[in-house]
Symmetry: C2
Amino acid sequence: MSEVSENVGALANSVFANIANKWALLIIETLGTETLRFSQIKARMNGVSHKMLAQTLRNLERDGIVNRTPYATVPPRVDYCLTDAGRELQQTVHGICHWTRSHLDHIEAARQRFDSAGG
Amino acid sequence: MSEVSENVGALANSVFANIANKWALLIIETLGTETLRFSQIKARMNGVSHKMLAQTLRNLERDGIVNRTPYATVPPRVDYCLTDAGRELQQTVHGICHWTRSHLDHIEAARQRFDSAGG
DNA sequence: CTGGATCCGTCAGGATACTG
DNA sequence: CAGTATCCTGACGGATCCAG
């Protein structure tokens, strides 16, 4: 209960903070079961900056969610794909994306209701 | 091909930004199938501030994910629970929380590997 | 092409105080 | 107890340049 649990809590918290953000979830969803290069990922995601993509990709790699494979060619080429753990996570992330898409009208209606109610 | 952030863009993006953050996901997970008061939610969540809880709760309510029920008693009392749509979402969110918990050691190992590799 | 570093503006988010 | 407003700091995130 004392220190061990707190450490686990802190770790879980930092892990959660790493994956519970827009870019991380979108990267995971974008990768899916594919293997993509840096520029391909960037092209498929709307409005992600060079910096944030590199940074988030790096975090995901560090957590063993994304697999990074650099090739010593000229010009350089780096492939990214989900690890086994990453693919497990992708299943649930996909669920969120699916939910978001299929509830867009529901949410838009709820917002209008809320806003016109003087919220 | 139709990614979350392609054509549907603006709305999907704002919806996604609302739920794809640490506090929103943790609130959804904390609520689960229960009905809790403001102070109860705050007590169950680790390190959330009064402000962020109120703010995130408000966003979730606006998007029709959380149901807010105020009672005109003294002292005031407000109950929160997930809506039907919210409970659907909670299923997948729970998947992420479950994944995080069951992969903590995997991730910790991956981090140590990454850090000691001179990352 | 990939990715790190730097500068810099914007805003998330914590602390506090006040209302009902 | 619940919610809002204010202030303020640090982190996020974009643009750009440099390196391999």
